[in-house]
């Protein structure tokens, strides 16, 4: 930056720095989908709840932790399922949801990749 500043002070053109993203287009597209699914505090909280339990949790047990209706919770769960964060299975009249275990590593790894650490 010091060299760049000096160059700029002398009226030179902006210095060109070597830069380049390390992630592929496919990766950024996939990660953007994940982050879009988690761009809502309720969905983060639902995912965190399922991750903390690991085993499948009945939708009625999820609902009791939120001041919102079951249809709204089910809508959030569908978005999390479409993004592959959670898996669903029906048991009688009840739907059970569990965290997708692949995400336990994949999601933190994505964050590390983006931050290049």
């Amino acid at each position: 930056m010091a060299k760049q500043r000096a160059a700029l002070a002398n009226g030179a053109e902006c210095c060109r720095t070597d830069v380049g993203a390390k992630l592929s287009s496919a990766q950024t597209k996939e990660y953007a989908g994940w982050f879009k699914a988690l761009s809502d505090p309720t969905r983060i909280r639902i995912l965190n709840l399922l991750a903390a339990n690991r085993d499948a949790v009945c939708v009625c047990d999820i609902v009791k932790h939120f001041p919102i209706s079951q249809p709204t919770i089910s809508h959030h769960l569908k978005i999390l399922k479409d993004a592959c964060f959670v898996q669903a299975e029906r048991c009688g009249t009840f739907m059970y949801y569990r965290v997708n275990r692949n995400c336990l590593d994949d999601f933190p790894n994505a964050a590390r990749q983006i931050m290049d650490v």
Copy 2:
């Protein structure tokens, strides 16, 4: 689940499981803002590019890596700046952007916290 299934098969009510999110409302709100900022592949790519460089990068150097206009890139950079992922400084007529070093740890840590790992 086996016990739950047996109970359900006997026509019992859905078993109650002990569940609970570990993240606070304030944390989920903050993280949702971060993920919203990264719900776009271009913004992920810009952040990854800045993270890979660590030092400040001129906006004109960022632009050359994308098939989109400088105003659009600047719009994406503003969203990343508002979410505190990047920091900006003016140098003459040029704007320079760098990754917010706090995010190098904080962002992967957030992902780990959500996934409870």
